[in-house]
């Protein structure tokens, strides 16, 4: 993912009595039929591990990050291990067996900033707390400025088998304007070193639509990325979010406001160029060779359970979504006191879940299997949203075929216009 989590909002720490209530609710609060839930938990879960540390904050980032100090990192890693043990035990209590997981994802922040050995400790903790499948996808996000041959080998030896490299751009002037701490050459060397160490599943992150970026600039970036032949690409259209350096600069007219039409052109270029090189455009911003999709991110899009460990990490168990306490220090304190560190929790009605499954599922090019959706949520999407879908189809944003509803390419560009009908 490159970076993570919203840092807005105050930390909300549960007190002792609400802690008990929370557990009660967590363990007994089945909102809908056991049958449905059993079906849900039969989906394999994903594990997200947040490493909040960064050497420097990027211009476009408003995620939950913190400056890197060795001592804090030590304490944090220990807290992560504790949290993993807590959830492992808690879920055994609930399921009468270990939770079965098939993805582990180290996101940040900058997970590559900490020692490889520290990530190895976390993986070991996961393997004892959960039932981690033999062929689990284990990903680490890498900032090209933090790599070393030794680290890469350490990751490989710890069982990490997928690397997601935050390239963002192959133009150094763009990297400078984004406050990235690496050069294009660093990115290329990182990929080379990963290949040498035997990594066979590499993903690159790039951002399109930067201020001052021309269609030519983006074409260059895209070609460079494709030349490295990564198994996976995450190509994002820049979003200007409040609270970022970029937002402030644009607001003060220090940077031009990126042009939506130009960004749309870039997006069309992406889809065409990746398609020509054999990549499958399987999600709004994601492209895969040989079906090597991001198995972890697929959890988010297919209504599968995922558990987030670490400050500001998000979880979903089919009944509720919750987010951990954001601030690193508060998180560590809460783990030390309670074993867990939930900040805010939102119970989902079946209706909420259906709505989220719909707008998340539609992000995938394959769209929604309407028959499966009917079975799962007792909602006939085609019938309930008849008028809306008719309008959207007429505008060329959605198509319905073989009992599947999906976005067209233009629909992906305007996906919020589609999704807004389902919330």
């Amino acid at each position: 993912m490159g970076e993570c989590w919203s840092s807005s909002g105050d930390d909300f720490i549960l007190n002792r009595s609400s802690h008990r209530e929370f557990l009660h609710c967590l363990l007994s609060g089945f909102r809908y039929s056991i049958l449905r839930y059993n079906h849900f938990v039969s989906k394999q879960a994903g594990l997200y591990i947040h490493i909040p540390f960064c050497a420097r904050k990027c211009a476009y980032c408003n995620f939950n990050t913190t400056d890197f100090f060795d001592d804090l990192a030590d304490n944090y890693i220990r807290a992560l291990e504790t949290e993993i043990v807590f959830w492992g035990a808690r879920l055994v209590e609930e399921l009468s067996k270990k939770l079965s997981i098939d993805t582990i994802y180290f996101g940040g922040g900058t997970p590559s900033i900490v020692e490889a050995g520290q990530l190895a400790r976390i993986i070991a903790a996961c393997q004892s707390a959960f039932d981690v499948s033999r062929d689990a996808e284990i990903t680490v996000e890498i900032n090209p400025s933090t790599f070393s041959r030794q680290k890469i080998e350490g990751w490989r030896d710890a069982g990490i088998n997928r690397a997601s490299v935050g390239v963002q751009s192959f133009l150094d002037r763009e990297l400078v304007s984004l406050s990235r701490t690496h050069t294009a050459a660093d990115a290329r060397q990182t990929v080379d070193a990963l290949r040498e160490a035997g990594f066979a599943n590499i993903s690159l992150d790039l951002i399109a639509g930067l201020p001052h970026q021309t269609l030519k600039d983006w074409e260059f970036n895209l070609c460079e990325a494709l030349r490295l032949r990564p198994e996976h690409l995450s190509l994002y259209l820049l979003e200007i979010k409040e609270g970022t350096q970029l937002y402030a600069e644009i607001k003060r007219n220090r940077q031009p406001r990126p042009d939506d039409d130009l960004a749309a052109e870039m997006y069309r270029m992406i889809s065409k160029a990746t398609g020509g090189e054999g990549y499958e455009h399987y999600e709004i911003s994601n492209f895969a060779l040989d079906h090597l999709r991001s198995r972890h991110n697929m959890k988010y899009w297919t209504d599968a359970p995922f558990y987030g460990m670490g400050c500001g990490a998000h979880s979903y168990d089919g009944r509720a979504r919750w987010v951990n306490i954001l601030r690193t220090e508060s998180y560590i304190d809460s783990i030390a006191g309670n074993g867990f560190a939930i900040g805010e929790r939102r119970e989902l009605s079946l209706e909420d879940r259906a709505s989220e499954a719909l707008f998340m599922g539609l992000r995938l090019r394959e769209g929604i299997d309407l028959a499966a959706f009917r079975r799962e949520f007792s909602i006939d999407v085609a019938d309930r949203y008849r008028d809306e879908l008719e309008n959207l189809a007429e505008a060329g944003l959605v198509e319905m075929r073989d009992d599947r509803l999906r976005l067209t390419l233009e629909g992906m560009l305007l996906s919020n216009e589609v999704f807004v009908n389902f919330v």
Binding site: M1, C4, W5, S6, Y48, H50, Y105, G107, S234, Y236, L237, L238, E239, D259, D260, D261, L262, A263, A264, Y267, I284, S285, N297, K299, Y300, F306, G308, A313, H314, S315, Y316, R321, V323, R346, S355, E356, F359, M360, N391, L392, E394, A395, G396, L397, M412, L413, L414, S415, N416, E417, F419, V420, F422, V423
Partner: protein, 600 residues
């Protein structure tokens, strides 16, 4: 009952900001009607809206006791008048209840068109006028020049004009003395049958309608059976009272006195301003002259943005009408906007006030269509109909002629702005009736022009062309035939009935072009390209295109933070709710008022 020789009934005529409310406050203070502590600023303008806009919408009356220098205690009734042309009928009724008026003029601003219009009204009612020059403490004060203006424009002797500063309290007692000395006492017959003029009413949730009146002849008492002569309705008087300004019950009101009665009347619509109250058993032979039924002049459609709030809007209109019988409404259905109401108002300000009260007091979000006047259409078959909505206009082939209401406008300005104002008035199809220098610098322009022409941007442009110096007032004079056509606006090929306008043939092209250009700016980009067209009949006269939206996508995955995505989508959904969906296009509220703001 007070001896009528000790009663003085008066009102204050002034232009906005010339200090009417401040002077009224001082008079209340000086006569001890209210202690300084009780004086919430400007007591007479009670409604929030009035206070914010600095104008009086409803008339009020306050009874003051004044111990004059001659040793006698006089009863002074200050009858406040609405300060805007929309309410000129109410003004005339309030003035009818008085024998005199203070003509308050700002010592640096001089006479303004509004002052003039109300002064003419006062003179029509034979009121004794006392010139009062206010704000003499200000550095720009030129009392001599202002005196000259008053003499010239009104023909009023200003040797005894009072020079005051209401703000500082200077000369306020002289004002009270002048009222006692100069305003004639009322001349009614105490023994005659009851005859009282209704000049205001409002709804009180405990007492029902409170009727404010001036007793002309006779006496009214609680328990009396009274007849409202035009309404032909009888009521039993529950209570009588006066406003001091706090309401105080009283056991009789005699000739010359001003006060209120209640009689379990359910809505203000049952009580018409200008009607005469008499005793049912002993009726006056002649009702008070000058009664007119109020007729709305300006019409607009009011629609809830959320169609499901139609019922709420109806309830709100019902409630509002309890207190304002001068606007009317009837259900109307628009193909574009769904169900709403066609409403009639006394004028543009009145329309704005009603709209604002609906939004503020009833928490409704409304779309107001462009206001229009009432047209008189004669069909080829000789039928004459009055239309209050462009959408009701018959097929052009069936129209013999269209007539529109005409006004006589009075504009006062400094002579340096006359040039640009001429151009504006010509553009607005005006005909010059008079051009007169009042002083070497001040000019009075009199024009005849269609009422419809002041409906759009006239007032704003008048103000900006004259740097705020010009003032303006008008009266209706009649109907006149015009070369009028209906201009339609089509959005994505669909005619939006709520955007149709009736305008003059010659300006149709320019306005059509300006309007589609403005709509292009106001309608946000949609999922698809949208054409905006202006058409007269089947002929398209202007076209603009709104490009399809570039992107609206949350690209990143945000590590499973789906709540954040949901919130973002919910926010976008809220934004859409504030727009009206017409066919497939979402049109924001402002676009419906674009017709008002467009320059040709």
């Amino acid at each position: 009952m007070t001896d009528s020789s000790l009663i003085r009934n008066f009102s204050i005529i002034a232009h906005i900001d010339h200090g009417k409310s401040t002077l009224a406050d001082r008079l209340l203070e000086k006569t001890g009607a209210l202690s300084e502590r009780e004086m919430s600023e400007q007591v007479l303008d009670a409604m929030d809206l009035e206070r914010e806009r600095g104008i009086t919408i409803k008339a009020h009356a306050v009874r003051l006791n004044y111990l004059a220098r001659d040793g006698q205690t006089y009863l002074l009734n200050l009858i406040d008048t609405p300060g805007h042309v929309d309410f000129s009928y109410e003004v005339s009724r309030s003035l009818s209840a008085c024998e005199g008026a203070l003509l308050v003029v700002d010592a640096s601003q001089g006479v303004e068109a509004q002052t003039l219009a109300n002064t003419y009204l006062a003179l029509d009612h034979n009121l004794h006028l006392i010139p009062v020059i206010n704000k003499i403490d200000l550095p720009g004060a030129e009392p001599d020049r202002v005196k000259e203006e008053i003499e010239h424009t009104i023909g009023l002797e200003t040797d005894n004009a009072l020079l005051i500063s209401a703000k500082m309290g200077t000369g306020v007692e002289d004002v009270l003395e002048a009222i006692v000395r100069e305003v004639p006492p009322p001349a009614g017959q105490q023994a005659a049958p009851l005859k009282a003029l209704i000049f205001d009413s409002w709804f009180d949730s405990y007492r029902g309608v409170v009727v404010l009146m001036r007793v002309i002849d006779g006496v009214i008492r609680p328990g009396m059976r009274v007849l409202l002569m035009d309404a032909e309705k009888e009521y039993l008087v529950d209570a009588l009272g006066v406003l001091t300004p706090k309401p105080r019950e009283i056991d009789s009101l005699g000739a010359g006195e001003v006060g209120f009665f209640t009689a379990s009347i359910k809505t203000v619509a049952d009580v018409e301003i200008g009607d005469t109250v008499t005793e049912a058993a002993r009726q006056t032979q002649t009702p008070f002259p000058g009664f007119k039924r109020i007729k709305p002049m300006v019409f607009a459609g009011l629609y809830p943005i959320e169609s499901n709030r139609y019922e709420e809007l109806r309830d709100a209109l019902d409630k509002l009408r309890l207190n304002d019988s001068s606007f009317f409404y009837e259900p109307e259905a628009s193909a574009a906007l769904g169900f709403g109401f066609r409403c009639g108002f006394l004028g543009l300000l009145h329309m704005e006030i009603v709209q604002e009260r609906l939004e503020r007091e009833f928490d409704l979000e409304l779309i107001t269509t462009a206001p229009n006047v009432r047209y008189r259409v004669t069909t080829t078959s000789g039928e004459v109909m009055e239309l209050d909505s462009p959408s009701k206009l018959p097929d052009p082939g069936k129209i013999e002629r269209i007539e529109e209401p005409i006004i006589r406008a009075m504009i006062m300005t400094n002579d340096e702005y006359v040039g640009p104002l001429f151009a504006l008035l010509e553009e607005k199809r005006g005909t010059q009736m008079g051009f007169e220098y009042l002083t070497p610098k001040r000019v009075l322009l009199t024009y005849e022009l269609p009422l419809a022409e002041i409906m759009l941007d006239f007032y704003d442009r008048l103000k900006s062309l004259s740097r705020g110096y010009a003032s303006f007032d008008y009266e209706l004079t009649g109907y006149r035939e015009g070369k009028l056509v209906k201009l339609d606006i089509l959005v994505a090929g669909e005619q939006v009935d709520a955007l149709s306008l009736i305008i003059h043939n010659e300006t149709a092209y320019a306005r059509g072009r300006a309007l589609v250009e403005r709509m292009r700016q106001l309608i946000p980009r949609q999922m698809f390209e949208v054409a905006i067209q202006a058409a007269i009949g089947n002929k398209v006269i202007a076209r603009e295109t709104i490009k399809a939206m570039g992107k609206n996508v949350i690209a990143k995955c945000y590590g499973g933070d789906i709540t954040r995505k949901r919130k973002l989508l919910e926010k976008q959904k809220e934004g859409k709710k504030r727009m009206k969906r017409v066919g497939r296009v979402e049109i924001p509220q402002e676009a419906f008022l674009a017709v008002l703001k467009v320059k040709e």
